[in-house]
Amino acid sequence: MAKLDREEEWAMLLRAADTGDCAAYRRFWDQVSPVLRGIVRARAGGLGADACEDILQEVLLAVHLKRHTWQQDKPLSPWLYAIARHKVVDAFRKRGRSVQLPIEDFAEVLPAAPGPDPFESHDAARLIERLDERSAEVLKGMALAGEDSAAIGRRLKMSDGAVRVALHRALKRLAVLRESEEG
């Protein structure tokens, strides 16, 4: 029963995110990311803790950028799990190892606390520098300095809409760069 309630709450939060509710989206991530981290650790633990955190970030970015492929009237877990599984398999493939993942659901996965930051120091900085200047500024402000979009808009003399567009573009670009980085 608890699992159903949890799933229903996640779905509700993600639907709210689609109406532009950033606070609901934040709650969605706070609830879902520890569970996804647990899944990634359970499947890819052998690759090491920082690799797991790295894969988790790819899963999170994919969930974010592909969230429109979830049909809002369908259960959320199979969709989330399919993305997590895809990214874990991909990570093994990129590292030249094959993996067989049993098809399971979230039932027995325990949420996991954050691990070491994968590429806090060098990689992220390098990737962000490959974004165009505005996107990089917006992403840095939002992610690293914790500014809100209004503050960033004032600082960069951009409208609120333009900040949002730049942020979305930056995240998309980041996913592409990460994908090609490790190829």
Partner: protein
């Protein structure tokens, strides 16, 4: 970047994203229009189109590719979701192929043996192959653009579905010009052209539909 920081950035990017299916119809319709226009300008419509459509065996050269295109399009769209399944699309396409093969065999049995090779070769197979491949290009572009927005777990299969869809619609368009009405001709050469476009789609899918 810390996972926390990534989450902070993503949370600020909450907004509705259009579902992959929403963009498909308008873009496909536009590409279809471009291909029809290209056909009209370069080849033109056969003069006896109305009469040809009333003969069932001839009409099949529009109906079969069209059905194939629709099934393949639905399949591509379903696979664009990570939790999607192609469902009955495969059996549907097999049924279309079976009808085509039946028409082919029946035509093969009724044509006199000394005219068989000529009936297959026809008079326009070069134009046929090139045109179907060429008219498929705008459709393929439209489909790939839409599918790139999706999240297929099977990029090669999704690409093949896209190619089959583009090739099917393209054959449908070309049929409006083509006056070769024997299944011995169109089942062989339309199928070959569609197959080539399907393979191209699979190759493109492998490159373009990864995420």
């Amino acid at each position: 970047m810390k996972t926390e920081d990534l989450i902070a950035a993503m949370s600020a990017d909450a907004s509705a994203q259009p579902a992959p299916g929403q963009a498909l119809l308008p873009r496909l319709a536009m590409a279809f229009g471009v291909s029809v226009l290209a056909m009209l300008v370069t080849l033109g419509v056969r003069p006896d189109l109305g009469a040809a459509l009333t003969v069932p065996v001839t009409a099949a050269k529009w109906v079969l590719p069209l059905l194939l295109a629709v099934f393949a399009g639905i399949g591509a769209l379903r696979l664009a979701r990570p939790d999607g399944r192609p469902g009955l699309v495969g059996p549907g396409m097999l049924a279309v192929a079976a009808v085509g093969v039946m028409l082919l065999v029946r035509a093969g049995l009724t044509v006199p043996p000394d005219q068989f090779a000529m009936a297959v070769r026809g008079k326009s197979l070069g134009v046929c192959l090139i045109s179907i491949m060429a008219f498929a290009v705008p459709l393929m572009i439209a489909l790939m653009l839409v599918l790139r927005d999706g999240a297929s777990l099977h990029p090669v299969l999704s690409g093949a579905f896209a190619g089959l869809c583009a090739g099917g619609f393209s054959a449908f368009i070309y049929a409006t010009h083509c006056n070769e009405d024997s299944p011995l001709f169109y089942m062989v050469w339309y199928s070959l052209a569609i197959l080539i476009v399907t393979l191209a789609g699979a190759l493109l899918g492998r490159r373009l539909l990864r995420w």
